[in-house]
Each structure stands twice: as C-alpha cells, then as structure tokens.
Assembly symmetry: C2
Homo-oligomer: 243 residues x 2
Amino acid sequence: MPRFFMDEGVLSGIIQITGRDAEHIKVLRLRPGETFTICDGRGTDYICRLLEKKGQGFEAEVIKTVSSEGEPTVNCTVYTAFPKGDKAETIIQKSVEHGAAKIVFFPSVRCVSRPDGKAVIKKLERWRKISEEAAKQSERGIIPEVDVLDSFEAAVAEASKAEMPLFFYEGDTDYSIKQALSSKSKYDTVSVVTGPEGGFEPTEVTKAREHGMLISGMGKRILRCETAPLCALAAVMFHTDNL
Amino acid sequence: MPRFFMDEGVLSGIIQITGRDAEHIKVLRLRPGETFTICDGRGTDYICRLLEKKGQGFEAEVIKTVSSEGEPTVNCTVYTAFPKGDKAETIIQKSVEHGAAKIVFFPSVRCVSRPDGKAVIKKLERWRKISEEAAKQSERGIIPEVDVLDSFEAAVAEASKAEMPLFFYEGDTDYSIKQALSSKSKYDTVSVVTGPEGGFEPTEVTKAREHGMLISGMGKRILRCETAPLCALAAVMFHTDNL
C-alpha cells in the first residue's frame, strides 16, 4: 500500500495532502476511494481513503489507526566511518530496510572522505531524503534519523551508551558477533560501529575498548565498509527475533 | 595480503604469473621478497614470495600452503529472480562477501528484465569477473559460480534439493527465517530463493511449496529485491556459526 509520512498534528478530520506527497499520489495514479497509509513517523499508521483533488493537492480521510508493523522491537543505531563516494547513500538506504533506528557518520583515522561545513549540510539534506524514501518503501514506522559527529571519540562515547555496544574490527577481537549478542540475555538498545575502507587503527580499537565497547568480528571473510553495517544489522535483527 | 586465484595444476615449483594477475601485481607495486596469496579456488591458500620480473610477468615460489579461512562451513546457494538494471552485480558482489557458494538467476512472472541468448552470455562473463574480484577482496577460498536457469520451475527444482530449502515471500508464510533455520538441527546445504522487484506470484509460491521448499518471511519490513538475498545470507551465516 502507498505510504507517506506526515506530522501527527495534521492527522485528524479531513487531511490536506500537498507538495511532494501530492506529486507522488499523481505518479501512482491513486483514485478517489482508494486507500493508502500515512504514518506519523512515531510508530502509528493512519489508514486513509483518498477523497478528491483540491487545488494542486488532494484531500483524504482517516479510516483507522494501527501500530506500524515495520518497527523492530530493538533500537539499533549504526555508526559508520565516512565512506568514499556514494556508499553512504547505500548504507542509509539498506540500513533503513534492515531496521536501523538511526544512522550516524563520523571521521576515523583512515577515512579518505571527511566532509565538513557546507558539504556536510548538503549531504545531510540528501541523506535524510534517502532515509525517508527507504522508510516509505520498507514500511517503517519512523523515518530513521541521519546525523554526523565530528570525531571518532564522540562516536564511541555515544555508541557505548547502548546496552549492547558492538565495535567491529578485522584484527584481534574479543568476541564473534554471535558471542557478543549472546553475552547478555536482554537488551533494548544496540549500537553497531563499523570502520572506513582501510579499517580502524589499533589505537582506535583501544579507545573503543576503554569506552566499554565489545570488540567483535564478523566471520573470516573481509567485508567491504558498506557491507559490514548491513551484515551486522541482519545479525542483530535475527538474534532479537526481528527477522 | 594481495590475493589471486590460479589453477592448482600450476601451483608447484616456480610459478609463472602472467596476464591480469601480473598487471595487478604491478598496480600493487609488489617487490621481490614480498609475500602474497594464491588460492587454488578449491579451499587451499598458497602463501607465495615474489621472485623476479620475467618478460611481461613475474615468477614466484610457494612458502607454505594453508586451508582458506574464508570458507563458511555451510554451502549456501542464492537463487534470485532477474532484477532490473545493475542490481545483479550488487547481489553477486555482496553475496560473495557474505559467503554464498553459488549465485543463480532465473526468470519469474513479474521480472521486468529477462536477458536471454547473447545478452546472457555477455552478462555471465561480466558477472563471473565480479564474483572473482569479490572473492579476492573478501578472501574466499573459492570463486563462487554464477549461473542462470531458463525457468522458475528449474530454479525451484534445483533449490529444493538443499537440506534447508528457503523460499522467501512477502505474503502469507509458513515460517520466519529464524523458525525455518531452527526447524532442523543439522544441515550442510542451504538454498535461498528470492523474488523480483514486484515479488513472487501466489502461483509460484504454490509451486515452490509443492517442491518441498519452506515458504519463509524475513521480518515485517519490505526488503528490496537486492537486499533480501543478502539479509537471508547474513541470517544463515549467523545461525550456522559462520559469523
């Protein structure tokens, strides 16, 4: 069913659909009487019926409200070192599909790309649109936030607050991802920290361990920087019964 | 460590490295005395030392042989309906990283793309190179085969021979992937069958069930056709202790 996100505040009585959402309804050739979903981005879906064209937009009415089924029971944030080229876009789109709650990029010693200032503002605008589109397509109940942090230290300081704080490294590790996820019986928040193309520096691993992160591996195969967060997310969702 | 694939037959005494592999050694600026790995594509790694330039190529000697660590203990083949555009390339590259043994494409009712004849031959050539490159990069012990089948029926007939034959569907399913993977205690072969952009037709699901495939879901989120096989592979590798 077509899916849009709108603020909860406008989701009562006759709903006015304008702008990009109205364009999308035209593209989909939805007709009066047909149903679609408007999600409030906070976990509730409003099943709506299209009424009629109104100026450049459309009117719709709410038939019923239900909990968004697409939200996993675990809150998992992905922290990824800035990758090269357009890999950040792939990571965002696929992380949203996999059920991430939030995606955060940060600089790391071996990062080739380190956007800052104006470049970051422009990228964030684009990245947030990608998250919204992926959330619509994959039927999420929220639009996962996309953000950047300005240092590795800030990333591990934040990531280490999760009840299951996972830091992925290709060198010597303390756990496999399966051992790490099995090391506690219950947790509601998970963080997944992955490195840039060249991997993390050993000094960064030491810092992460000092912050209490679980230094974990993901099998014997070398994963590309855009593959690692997705493989980790799939494992987290599988282990927590969200797959 | 740089990694190449060569036939077992040439891997004794002084090894001659020519063609694309020699070009790669030049690009990497490997010097005499430096070590690299030649894998026989059958699970054995030959740790080699570069000797000297010889004509357009190089000579090398074997220092020792070891089992390729990158091979998972489970043999998992991915069967995916032909996707649009260059998504097949993404699926191949990432499936190899995730540990797939083989990747097979097949036509399905809702496939928009159905390459045949010359187009398939050209695509297969390109796809196999992508598999080889991904196998080198991810340190696999084999180059996963890439193939096409000419019908949906052929795909489910072949896929259903696996000890754990998984068929993914977005509609009503008999199992979650976790339930399906937990429904037997031991298996060495797994197949993962995923659909095209528009999903499988219900008639196809019926046929798959008749072939004995386990009709399974992968959570409440709608995964894109290029995401589903990778999420399934990650779950298979996690469940079988290969992550």
